[in-house]
Amino acid sequence: MSVYVEVLLGLSAIPPLLVLWRGPSLWDRLTGAASLNLRVTLFLAAHAAFSGHGLLLDVALAYAILGFLGTVLLARFGERGER
């Protein structure tokens, strides 16, 4: 069961990657980046729970914090309009 869960979760990261690649505006790309961060965090947590490496869960928490900071900083950057 764990293999199916990890494969389905990894495949669900492909549509945000496509949106991040060919989004017409900056905000489409930001939406894709935020969704991709969420899926990477979930994949780290799932691999920590399925394989028993508890250290990966701390990595997932740090990745969630850094992903949120990156999303908010890039959104503020796009708000002021300095390209």
Partner: protein, 93 residues
């Protein structure tokens, strides 16, 4: 084995969010699809992981991760939407 139910329901919501992002065309519609469906999917998926691996192994950090994502995902969505609204991105009729 009971942990498979919230895991696969959470994966279903995550797939709904991902396909909605591909389907819609404007940034607000994409934020609606991604921001609403992902929060339910994340919460159910992490609850399923707690049920799978037991409370003693990874329970506390999983609860911290659920609470953190539950608070910061709407903040990120709101930051992106406000940024698009300030820069005069409007819906095309």
């Amino acid at each position: 084995m009971i942990s498979g139910v919230p895991l696969f329901v959470g994966l279903f919501f995550l797939w709904l969010g991902a396909l909605g992002m591909l389907r819609f065309r404007s940034p607000y519609c994409r934020l609606q699809a991604a921001g609403v469906a992902d929060i339910g999917g994340v919460t159910l998926f992490l609850l399923g992981l707690i049920l799978h691996s037991g409370w003693e192994a990874t329970g506390g950090i999983m609860i911290a991760l659920i609470l953190f994502l539950l608070f910061t995902t709407p903040l990120g969505t709101h930051a992106i939407a406000k940024s698009a609204f300030v820069r005069r991105v409007r819906e095309r009729k």
